[in-house]
């Protein structure tokens, strides 16, 4: 690995004594080496497991690596060779954004339950025994040579050009490739294939849209496509150049996307295709909009879907359909219709997608650039069809060797495929997964692959952007990158070509002198460089190539040719025929399976941060639940956590019930990604695995619209909620500023009304220099919770586990409160409003409010601490001094915002007394969740790891503030004020929507100053006189049709 600091521009003014000595030393060493062998020195990044006390790495400066992680460009911050934070690479217009899983990737990297080295699993017969790469490699290679054509490589979706090239090279060695993705957009793929001849789904340009209509759309639900960032750009009511967009969502289960809609209409999944067709009918035939209005066969295809007809079948009022269609037609060229959420995976999904396609065509969405085909994403990287075919071959004994890399079908294939049974028929199975997961347990060998932060790779991003995945740390265990393994085995098996070249480049050329530095040991490195050399038409080893390569590593990306967007033709008869699948639901109740917001498909199920992350809507952590509509829930006499049995006919499952606000009455839902049995001690046994429940039909795995019956079992398992009451009655408790666009235009202060403070006898703080402050724009915030994980990573926040959440001891410094706004009522709501009456939760208006320490000027926590452990800094921070804190918890009691977190247990090291630890199983749990090696390596050395018995809370990332001060000192700059951007706290860094603005209120021209004095700004609980430093800007809902 190359050192990155050789790339930082050389600034002679900043050369201090240390720097001089270091540079001098490096030059001397380089000179010595150069004179010996004329080869650049090989540098390795080796982390310290135990940091020598005397060692000071520079001035505690971090090193940053640009890399790409699971399809999204990230900047990885490392300290002493350890990655400690993954943040978005905002410099790239990549069309990708980070998901919660990206932010939490450190917990995957340092997961103690990853395989430590190759093992012989022996198909789960007996305990696994240690093996070696050499032994496994020899066996695989000998089989590859013998059994050409009967060897299959099963991977997850392959989006890396180099990996694809290596796999193509492997074909020469007789290896077939099958890719499978557990959560695949099957319906869009089919529809797009039929409609346009290419399975590329266009990317919506939400920043250009005045009107967005979603039909079960899920663009805010934890995807990596970065649409949340674009969506937020138009959600503020007072931007001159970007008037507020309007978002109408039709959906069944209240999703994060739906919660952000201006208008939300409940439609069960299997009725969505009808609704979409009705909208198309009204827009195209009713309003005569767009080029399709005069096309005869479209009129025929849509004839059956008049709003009146659809209204009769679905219960959605024809008036609503007509209004939305009218608004769409009126916004032609500025409107876009989106589907593609979990609801599309019903039997009628392709019809839904085709109808949406027709709508978008009619609304000129392609022509106006609202749907960008060039930034489209190929939806066929991994399909269930391919897995189905493979399984059939395996059952027929046609596969003799199966190499599995990055795929776990024993866990996530539909039950009807019987993958485990088929696997038993394959004579030789090697798993290249990273741990002894469900599939690896049934293999002969597990040859564990590295985490993406440990190995080389690359990634094709939308719009021709290519990105390099460079390692930020040496592999922690005896693992190798997937690309390394494939190159190695392929070349050894005689695949030849680039594979062979890459492998031979890792060995010293024959005849080189003995003292020559060894070539780079990674075959993947040589292979990727070979690929890039070809792409850039350069020769590896030349200075031109090296400089291009270094620039690539520095910026993290390279702009390739943008794929041309083929003009979209009107759909042919084959596509229109798909509309026939839009039929009313036959079953009384249907089930939707949807990707878990944090865990998605469950690959990272052993990640404590993700497991503990409370779902933005349900607020459930550590598990999932059957979402049931409030009315049905009440009629069944259920309470949250009551175990219910779902009977799908082909399968049954028992899971806890949850009263899901805004759910369609005829639908229930369960998340994917849970119920792992072999992912490690943290995630195994949490929740229920619903992947096997999917039905195979038409080459798709149906995950929605599944007919289901629901039965009570009489048992109860409490759900780990990270929130108390769901409802807020803003008449009484004006704690969230919210209003409508109409009201806002009349009175910009609307929604911020609250009781005023009385006079205060406390003297005001002078704040002579800086005054740190924050503004949170609730109109931009979509409640995704990336700030929560970003903060957790930055501030060394422990994981408390399911029991900890149930005990009410969550530790997160920032949380997203989710409320359902109680509608205005004649008279007032009684106390029953807090229990979520049907009038509030059936058609909920959702409000999100990020809640963190408000750093009050008159902080009630400061006055009550007898030990002076929390006090006010002169730059406006409410500081918590861990050393002084003795833990009376008085401050937490007296905090009106309840943002202070107490270390009820020891989370930072293992407690070892046999007598006492035997009294409570939680000692073992906390040890598993927090203290096993090498988990500590994720800790940020700038932030104290707290011991038990002390209070902690948001510090406004004081370490970053102090670092900025120190930097100003080093640079000889003034420290009285800091410009915008000098300090960016972790939550602000992680926020894709730009909802959080942090800065120095006293600095001239500070953005936070402007926002804090905005008419929309509201400081909470003014009547208490605590004077928070955080301003919340009103959540404005666009009610203007």
């Amino acid at each position: 690995m190359k050192a990155n600091d050789t790339l930082t521009p050389f600034d002679p003014d900043s050369l201090d004594r240390r720097e001089f000595l270091r540079l001098g030393g490096t030059l001397a060493a380089a000179g010595a080496l150069a004179s010996a062998g004329c080869q650049p020195p090989q540098e390795a990044t080796v982390p310290f497991h135990d940091m020598p006390e005397s060692l000071v790495d520079g001035v505690g400066r971090a090193r940053f690596f640009t890399t790409v992680l699971d399809g999204a460009p990230v900047v990885v911050k490392t300290r002493e060779g350890r990655p400690i934070l993954a943040a978005p690479n905002r410099g790239l217009s990549s069309g990708r954004g980070l998901t919660l899983r990206h932010h939490a990737t450190l917990m995957d990297l340092y997961d103690p339950d990853r395989a430590k080295g190759p093992v012989s699993v022996r198909r789960g017969k007996g305990a696994p025994v240690a093996s070696s790469w050499a032994a496994i490699g020899t066996e695989v290679v000998s089989r590859l040579q013998k059994e050409k054509g009967q060897t299959v490589l099963l991977t997850g979706p392959v989006t890396s050009p180099s990996l694809a090239a290596a796999i193509a090279g492997l074909a020469a060695a007789g290896v077939r490739h099958v890719a499978y993705s557990p959560i695949e957009p099957g319906a869009p793929a089919l529809a797009w294939q039929k409609a346009t001849g290419s399975p590329r789904r266009p990317r919506p340009a939400l920043a250009k849209a005045d009107l967005i209509v979603g039909l079960g759309a899920a663009f805010l639900d934890g995807n990596r496509d970065g649409l949340d960032e674009e969506f937020a750009l138009r959600r503020v009511p007072d931007q001159k150049d970007a008037p507020m967009s309007r978002f109408v969502q039709f959906e069944s289960r209240l999703s994060l996307t739906g919660a952000n809609a201006d208008t939300r209409i409940r439609v069960r999944d299997s009725h969505l295709p009808l609704v979409a067709a009705a909208l198309a009918h009204e827009v195209i035939l009713g309003q005569k909009t767009g080029p399709l209005a005069s096309v005869g066969d479209i009129a025929t295809a849509l004839a059956a879907f008049s709003p009146q007809e659809v209204s009769k079948k679905t219960g959605v009022s024809a008036e609503v359909l007509g209004t939305v269609a009218k608004q769409l037609a009126a916004a032609t060229g500025k409107a876009v219709v989106l589907a593609g959420g979990p609801a599309s995976e019903s039997a009628g999904g392709p019809a839904l997608e085709i109808a949406v396609h027709l709508l978008n065509l009619s609304l000129d969405a392609y022509a106006s650039g609202l749907l960008d085909l060039s930034a489209g994403e190929d939806l066929t990287h991994g399909t269930i069809q391919a897995l189905g075919t493979l399984t059939a071959e395996m059952l027929a004994g046609k596969v003799t060797t199966l190499i599995i890399g990055g795929s776990n079908p024993v866990y996530d294939a539909p039950a009807s495929l019987k993958f485990a049974e088929a696997l038993a028929k394959v004579p030789f199975v090697v798993s290249l997964n990273d741990r002894l997961d469900e599939t690896s347990l049934l293999a002969d060998y597990l040859a564990p692959t590295s985490h993406p932060l440990e190995c080389w790779g690359d990634e094709a991003l939308p719009k021709g952007l290519l990105s390099i995945q460079q390692p930020c740390i040496q592999p922690l265990h005896d693992t190798q990158g997937l690309l390394d393994v494939l190159v190695l085995w392929g070349a050894a098996a005689g695949a030849g070509g680039a594979l062979e070249a890459a492998l031979s480049a890792t060995k010293p050329a024959p005849g080189t002198p003995a003292n020559t530095p060894a070539p780079h040991p990674s075959a993947a490195w040589h292979f990727i460089r070979g690929q890039w050399a070809a792409r850039l038409s350069l020769t590896p080893g030349t200075p031109e190539f090296d400089s291009a390569w270094n620039e690539l590593l520095r910026s993290g990306s390279w702009q390739g040719p943008v794929p041309a967007a083929a003009p979209v033709a009107k759909p042919g008869a084959e596509a229109l025929a798909l509309l026939a699948s839009a039929v009313p639901a036959a079953a009384e109740l249907e089930l939707e399976l949807y990707p878990h917001t944090a865990l998605h498909d469950g690959k990272s199920a052993n990640n404590g941060w993700l497991q503990e992350f409370p779902d933005p809507i349900t607020r459930i952590s550590w598990g999932g639940a059957v979402s049931i509509a409030p009315k049905r829930f009440d009629e069944m006499g259920l309470s949250n956590g009551d175990m219910v049995e779902l009977d799908l006919g082909h399968a049954k499952i028992v899971a806890p019930a949850y009263r899901h606000a805004g759910m369609h009455n005829d639908q229930v839902a369960l998340p994917f990604g849970l119920g792992r049995t072999a992912c490690g001690v943290i995630g195994s046994g949490i929740g229920q695995n619903v992947f096997p429940l999917r039905l195979l039909a038409d080459g798709r795995a149906l995950a929605a619209g599944l007919p289901v019956k629901i039965l009570k079992t009489g048992k109860n398992e409490p759900l780990a909620f990270a929130q108390g009451s769901d409802v807020i009655d803003r008449d009484r408790r004006p704690l969230v500023p919210a209003t409508t666009l109409t009201a806002y235009e009349k009175d910009p202060k609307s929604g911020t009304e609250q009781q005023e403070a009385g006079p205060s006898i406390w003297p005001e703080h002078p704040y002579k220099n800086s005054k740190w402050s924050m503004a949170i724009d609730l109109s931009k915030c979509n409640g995704c919770g990336k700030c929560v994980i970003g903060c957790q990573a930055e501030n060394n926040i422990p994981v408390v586990g399911r029991r900890g959440i149930l005990d009410g001891r969550e530790m997160s410094w920032i949380r997203i409160d989710r409320y359902y706004d109680a509608p205005k009522k004649d008279g007032r709501w009684g106390a029953e409003v807090w229990d979520g009456p049907l009038a509030v939760v059936e058609e909920p208006t959702t409000l999100f409010e990020p809640m963190l320490c408000q750093h009050c000027d008159n902080a009630p926590c400061e006055s009550v601490c007898p030990f002076v452990a929390t006090m006010h800094s002169e730059d406006g921070l409410n500081q918590q001094i861990y050393n002084r804190c003795v833990g009376t918890r008085y401050c937490a009691n007296n905090c009106p915002f309840k943002v202070r977190r107490f270390n009820f247990w020891e989370y930072s090291y293992e407690k070892k007394s046999a007598l006492f630890t035997s009294l409570d199983s939680r000692f073992e749990q906390f040890n598993q969740l927090n203290t096993r090696k090498p988990m500590q390596m994720k800790n940020n050395p700038e932030v104290t790891v707290r011991m038990r018995g002390v209070m902690e809370k948001c510090s406004f990332c004081v370490q970053r503030i102090r670092e900025a001060r120190a930097q100003a000192t080093r640079d000889g700059k003034k420290k009285d004020h800091f410009p915008d951007g000098a300090v960016i706290p972790a939550c602000m860094e992680a926020c894709p929507a730009g909802a959080i603005t942090f800065g120095d209120l006293n600095a001239p021209g500070a953005k936070v100053k402007e926002l804090s004095s905005h008419p929309r700004a509201m400081r909470l609980l003014e009547a208490l006189g605590v004077k928070p430093s955080i301003s919340y800007l009103t959540k404005v809902r666009n009610d203007k049709a």
Binding site: P860, G887, T888, A892, F916, L919, D920, G949, L1021
Partner: protein, 493 residues
């Protein structure tokens, strides 16, 4: 005519004054109170009756009680060791409810500790002579209750081993000073002052009695020990004169403490911003509640002492009735405070206040509020009937119920205010864990262990003061086995 002149048996007491018809100076009636010591006791009987328990080998009944108390104390010691090892996680406190059973127990025990000083000091200054029968035990109860209470603020800390940082003294930690804005810092002064003054007051009162024990002692070491404990009390006039003025001064000093301690404890809550805590009624409300609970505990203990140590002649039914009256009065005051809180919550028009009180009475903790209100405001109403005031079983049961009610009062204040405060998102629930229960039970173990040791080694009734309220005409004569007193003589247990 001297009061207390009559020789009466305990069973003959009526609680009404004795009416002497035609004995008045102008031929009218004279009413004299019933004697405070019954059974025609002589002064020497008093010495023997009271000192006897310190002079003989403990009875089986004592051993049983002591074993039970000691095992409960053992539970406390083990639980505390575990608590120090594991941290507050083993208890029920959590996110919204940062204070739980430990603070409840703290306020509960401090409240119990109020009756002693009230009886000793306030009733002394008001010349309530019936106090003499119960003041010693009540003061001891105070000390032990304060000792129990003192544990809790320390063990409820996350890092209890740094508790001494609360003491403001010049130190090498910066120096690290305490925050005088914090009521918890005030607590340190209030409680330590109260504890020290109570101890001094109690010990000064003990001096003549320790001398009595010394004088009766036969073993030379016992004589020496009690001599040292009594500061070589000579019983001279000079000594008595100094003693009486010291006692008076201490009584005057202790009197404001009765009101200050619980006032300051109430500030722990009243100075916060939490609805349900932030109320100006708290100081008087807490003081009255404390006196109420303290008297209830005194009644509990006196019922036991009357029974177990056969001190019915000294702690008579009239004593019990007097305490029952105080219990009823303070019970009504407490009930009045509960109602006032509700009125103010409504009258203030504040959403937060209104919600908290509605939530207390009708929310998920309605049962705690119900127990509190019933036990404290309703049950003592039974003492409107004189027969109930003089029924020892009723007294005992009511005193226990009041103690339960007062524990729940603190439960209601601490838990229901915290569990649902400003932000509905942060609402939560609280429940005691087995360790909370173990430590609560253990604190009773500590209390009873100390109390049982006290009754073994020290005179449980203020001998010299009791002698002062006996009619010399009756009490001066030599002890005799004959006469009406014989039947009422305590059995040597």
């Amino acid at each position: 005519m001297s009061p207390y002149a009559t020789v009466m048996d305990d069973s003959q007491l009526t609680g009404q004054p004795i009416v002497l018809s035609g004995k008045g100076p102008f031929g009218g009636d004279v009413e004299i109170p019933e004697p405070l010591v019954t059974g025609g006791k002589k002064w020497s009987d008093v010495d023997r009756d009271i000192c006897l328990h310190t002079e003989q080998f403990p009875t089986k009944r004592w051993w049983i009680c002591f074993a039970a108390a000691l095992s409960m104390l053992g539970v406390l010691v083990f639980s505390l060791a575990y608590l120090l090892y594991a941290g507050m996680g083993i208890c029920g406190v959590n996110g919204p409810v940062g204070w739980g059973s430990f603070i409840i127990n703290f306020v509960f025990w401090i409240g119990i500790g109020h009756a002693g000083t009230l009886i000793s000091a306030v009733l002394f200054l008001f010349r309530q002579q019936w106090r003499t029968g119960i003041n010693r035990a009540a003061e001891a109860m105070t000390l032990f209750a304060v000792a129990c209470a003192g544990i809790f603020p320390i063990i409820h800390l996350g890092r209890a081993w740094f508790a001494y940082w609360l003491v403001p003294y010049p130190n090498a930690r910066g120096p690290l000073w305490v925050n005088f804005n914090s009521p918890l810092a005030w607590d340190i002064f209030a409680i330590s002052t109260y504890g020290l003054v109570s101890l001094a007051f109690w010990y000064v009162g003990l001096l003549p009695d320790l001398a009595t024990v010394r004088d009766r002692a036969t073993h030379p070491w016992r004589k020496k020990l009690y001599n040292v404990l009594s500061f070589n009390w000579t019983g001279s006039h000079r000594a008595w004169r100094h003693y009486e003025s010291a006692y008076m001064i201490l009584a005057a000093l202790a009197t404001p403490l009765v009101f200050s301690v619980h006032t300051i404890v109430s500030f722990d809550f009243a100075t916060s911003v939490i609805p349900g805590w932030h109320t100006t009624i708290f100081p008087p409300y807490f003081v009255i509640g404390a006196i109420f609970s303290g008297f209830a505990m005194v009644i509990t203990l006196m019922s036991l002492m009357r029974g177990v140590f056969n001190l019915k002649n000294y702690i008579t039914l009239n004593h019990m009735e007097a305490m029952a009256k105080i219990l009823m009065l303070t019970g009504m005051l407490v009930g009045f405070a509960y109602s006032t809180e509700f009125f103010m919550a409504w009258y203030s028009g504040s959403e937060w206040e209104g919600f908290v009180f509605k939530n207390r009475a009708f929310g998920p903790y309605w049962w705690a509020y119900f127990i509190m209100f019933t036990c404290n405001a309703i049950v003592p109403q039974i003492f409107w009937w004189k027969s109930m005031r003089r029924n020892t079983v009723v007294l005992f049961v009511v005193s226990i119920l009041v103690n339960i009610g007062m524990w729940f009062e603190r439960y209601v204040i601490v838990v229901t205010s915290l569990h649902r405060d400003f932000l509905p998102s942060s609402w939560g629930m609280y429940a005691l864990t087995r360790w909370d229960y173990a430590i609560l039970i253990g604190s009773f173990g500590l209390f009873f262990t100390l109390f049982l040791l006290f009754v073994r080694v020290l005179p449980v009734i203020a001998i010299s003061e009791v002698k002062g309220v006996m009619d010399p005409k009756v009490a001066r004569s030599a002890p005799s086995d004959a006469g009406p007193a014989a039947a009422a003589r305590p059995q040597e247990v």
